[in-house]
């Protein structure tokens, strides 16, 4: 890439350092990495230090200052991928390429990545940002052959595009939507712009908020904050400008509902943003799209264009006077923690995705310091239905304190993984029956940050007051070694995805993983169990939700599957160091041509 091209990119974003994510994306996308000499140019032009630019680059999984290869393969390493035979696919990639993960060979890079939102069609990988699902060893050989022939990634699909809009010329992807059960939110017909023009246009912003409050809708990202109250805070907050964000950075392993919503009902998501903007008085909106879903970008941009033409965006959307609102799409670059709203805002400002200290909350001081509402994809489409059918209608769905429906991403050991929209208050058992799960040993409710529960709890209700979930439901049958196959993988996920700022979050998950490994080796004593429970007490002092929940896989499994831990306990022993002297000195012994004294 020439210096001139870099300047072209910088000009495109008006030398605005808050657009650093886009600048880096354009360069990375073009040359597969961001060379250090180019980093210096970017830094000088944006009046930053190179170290500061590198701070952003090095934070994100999909940016690199080292070459990633003409083809960059990122194979998902989530629990569900493992269940579906990832091991063989991974081995095939390594064998075909003759290299390990993390290396580049013959201009083809092989990397691991955290859950890419395809848990219903694993094993799956991203190749130069394009999604390839249902991988087999056969398919791996075919793909590597195509790469060696220098084929374009777009031409590497085996003519089998996915269902619904996935085969549209703007997406052209093999992803399938797996829509298994729809309800009042996803199922009803959606007529673009109708709610905005026929209903919102006749309401005051406060009317909109009141309707949301009446519905008792709570944020669907997982935290469950009442949406109407959030909008009201933002409406009352003082600011020259206000922003509406749609959080499409779902990264919780096992979740993929936002992917499906954005493919099936993108206009409805954007219309939800317009309604939110009208309610709080915002003029600009940003949909923060996770990098893994960048294959949807063109399609989404097209939807926005159509909305502008249809008078649903831009000047006076829906014909509402004194109202102007437009939306742009901000791509992420691979960081689970950016799903946390303040980290998402930091990222959209071009910085490392580190959660902010609160207060102030985003509704008071958010994007660029302006009052900002951040809503989940699912929350926004629910808001459209609430305006369409009334808060009272919505409030009658579900249970008293968990109103409405929940769109679930079901994956793992079941016959019919996919999207299920259910009214809150169903039991885990009902869901398992619905999805065709047999011999179920455990269900991971709400993804790794949620809880791992066993059969004795399957009659519990899924709702905010009992078993809350952001939507990820991973079914695990009795073939699996729960501790080794599931809990260990989840701990590795949290270790990898911590932003690294708070001391406990940076350290405790690693220490707990070491304890788990000791347990798996059969070397643990009761003291190790006590240590786990005591050390995990540090997690609530971390800054954000990731930090608060990063020990949950081990804590909830220790609580609900204690017998699995006890089985591996070393009996009749008070203390076991877990340290083997012979192993520790083996290397140095070899060096001086000795064997350890055994």
């Amino acid at each position: 890439m020439t210096t001139q091209e870099i300047h072209g990119i910088l000009d495109k974003y008006k030398h605005d350092k808050t657009r650093l994510m886009d600048i880096l994306y354009d360069i990375q996308h073009k040359t597969n990495y961001i060379p250090m000499d180019k980093v210096d140019i970017i830094a000088d032009e944006l009046n930053m230090s190179s170290a500061d630019v590198e701070q952003t680059i090095s934070f994100y999984h999909f940016y690199s200052t080292k070459p990633r290869g003409k083809y960059s393969i990122c194979l998902n390493n989530s629990v569900v991928a493992n269940m579906k035979g990832r091991e063989f696919v991974a081995q095939a990639f390594k064998d075909e390429l003759g290299c390990e993960f993390g290396e580049v060979k013959d201009d083809i890079g092989l990397f691991e990545t955290s859950c890419i939102g395809m848990s219903d069609q694993e094993p799956a990988a991203l190749i130069n940002g394009k999604v390839f699902t249902n991988l087999t060893t056969y398919r791996v050989r075919e793909l590597i052959r195509d790469m060696r022939l220098g084929m374009k990634v777009d031409d590497m699909f085996a003519n089998t595009f996915g269902d619904s809009m996935n085969s549209s010329p703007l997406i052209k992807s093999c992803v399938r939507n797996s829509l298994k059960r729809t309800g009042p939110i996803l199922g009803q017909e959606y007529i673009p712009g109708k709610t905005l023009k026929k209903q919102v246009a006749l309401m005051s912003p406060q009317d909109v908020i009141n309707e949301l409050k009446k519905s008792h809708l709570r944020g669907r990202g997982g935290a469950g904050f009442p949406t109407g109250i959030k909008w009201e805070f933002a409406r009352k907050a003082k600011g020259e400008k206000k922003y509406v964000f749609c959080n499409a950075d779902e990264g919780e392993p096992g979740t993929f509902k936002d992917r499906v919503i954005l493919t099936e009902k993108p206009g409805m998501v954007f219309e939800g943003m317009v309604i939110a903007a009208y309610a709080i008085g915002a003029s600009e909106g940003i949909l923060y799209l996770r990098y893994e879903y960048r294959y949807l970008r063109k399609y989404l941009v097209d939807v926005l264009d159509k909305m502008r033409k249809n008078n649903s965006l831009g000047k006076n959307p829906g014909g509402i006077k004194d109202f102007e609102f437009d939306i742009r799409i901000q791509l992420g670059a691979g960081a689970y923690v950016c799903g946390e709203e303040s980290a998402l805002i930091e990222s959209a400002e071009g910085k490392r995705g580190e959660p902010r200290n609160r207060p102030p909350f985003p509704v008071e001081k958010g994007y660029l310091g302006f009052p900002t509402v951040v809503n989940n994809v699912e929350t926004l489409i629910a808001a459209v239905r609430i305006i369409q059918n009334g808060g009272e209608w919505y409030q009658k769905l579900g249970t008293k304190e968990s109103t409405g429906t929940k769109i679930l991403s079901v994956s793992g050991d079941c016959l019919f993984p996919g999207i299920y929209e259910l009214e809150w208050g169903f039991t885990v058992r009902t869901l398992l029956e619905m999805v065709g799960a047999r011999n179920t040993q455990a269900v991971q409710v709400g993804g790794p940050s949620g809880a791992l529960i066993g059969p004795e709890q399957f009659d519990r209700n899924v709702c905010y007051s009992d078993l809350a979930t952001g939507g990820s439901m991973i079914v695990i049958d009795n073939r699996r070694d729960l501790l080794k196959d599931v809990v260990l993988n989840f701990m590795e996920f949290f270790i990898e995805e911590s932003c690294g700022s708070c001391v406990p979050c940076r350290n405790i998950p690693t220490l707990l993983k070491q304890k788990l490994e000791k347990i798996l080796e059969g070397k643990a004593t009761n003291k190790d169990f006590d240590d786990i429970n005591n050390w995990a007490k540090m997690m609530p002092i971390n800054r954000c939700g990731l930090g608060h929940t990063a020990a949950n896989p081990i804590i909830t499994s220790l609580k609900n599957f204690r017998h699995l831990y006890r089985e591996r306990l070393k009996k009749d022993i008070e203390f076991e160091s877990g340290f083997c002297l012979d192993d520790a000195i083996r290397e140095s012994c070899e060096f001086v041509d000795r064997i350890p004294n055994i």
Binding site: Q55, R352, N357, P359, N507
Partner: protein, 250 residues
């Protein structure tokens, strides 16, 4: 604008302070010391070390980043919180590689001083022996990552102000690099080379540990005569008292 006074309690003691000041400063105004580490008076708090964690109405919050408000019930000096603070200090010792007897900052080190204050003899966590490097490539600064506790003071305080267009912020000479366990502080290659003696000295002074050291000088004050050699870290000698007074004066 008239300053509003907030009434609140710290460990059941009735206190008052100006609404909106940080809990740390509000406590200090009432003669109560909350241990801190990453905090540096007069600089925007980072809330990254979590040592100043207190409980406000039963919730854990950092005292450096949370403004005091009317009616808060704050817990500071409880067995649970002191144990959490001690745990944080211990984690920093096991995560890095700290050999106090050989460190230039021994006696002036806030991490060491807090460890003494909390009576830490040995950490409860296993040492990680993480491989960290020493960067001696910069002309003025010797940057030892083994001792870095990632408090971000250098990122926040040491800025390059040369040739700046009006109204813009100084460029960061230090920055975070990577994430998760791999996170480390990077000293900018080019700005590091141009670093002035004053700024290099300031970087060393504000570093709570011995990670940032000025080259070609050392042990000016003999061990035994340093800040925390004779007295424990406390309300009177913590976080650069001078800076604190100046900030209060403003």
């Amino acid at each position: 604008m008239e300053k509003k006074i907030a009434h609140f309690t710290i460990d059941n003691k009735e206190c008052t302070a100006t609404t909106g000041v940080s809990i740390i400063n509000a406590a200090r105004e009432n003669g109560i010391f909350i241990p801190t580490l990453c905090h540096y008076e007069g600089v925007k708090p980072a809330g990254s070390c979590r040592v100043c964690t207190v409980k406000v109405n039963k919730r854990h919050l950092t005292a450096c980043t949370t403004p005091v408000a009317e009616g808060m019930e704050i817990e500071v000096d409880t067995a649970e919180l002191n144990d959490l603070r001690s745990s944080v200090i211990e984690l920093l010792f096991t995560e890095g590689n700290h050999y106090c007897p050989a460190c230039e900052k021994s006696g002036n080190c806030e991490l060491q001083a807090l460890a003494y204050r909390f009576g830490i003899m040995a950490p409860r966590f296993p040492y990680q022996f993480n491989e960290r490097d020493v960067d001696a490539s910069h002309p003025k600064i010797y940057h030892d990552h083994n001792r870095c506790i990632l408090c971000k003071r250098c990122i926040r305080i040491i800025k390059d102000e040369k040739d700046l267009p009006a109204g813009s912020q100084g460029r960061s000479i230090f920055a975070f690099n990577q994430r998760a366990k791999k996170v480390k502080i990077k000293l900018d290659d080019r700005l590091g080379k141009e670093l002035s003696d004053e700024l290099a000295q300031k970087a060393m002074d504000i570093c709570p540990v011995g990670s940032i050291l000025v080259k070609e000088t050392g042990f000016k004050t003999p061990i035994g005569q340093r800040k925390f050699d004779k007295e424990a870290i406390s309300l009177d000698n913590s976080i650069n008292l001078k800076a604190m007074k100046e900030a209060h004066h403003e």
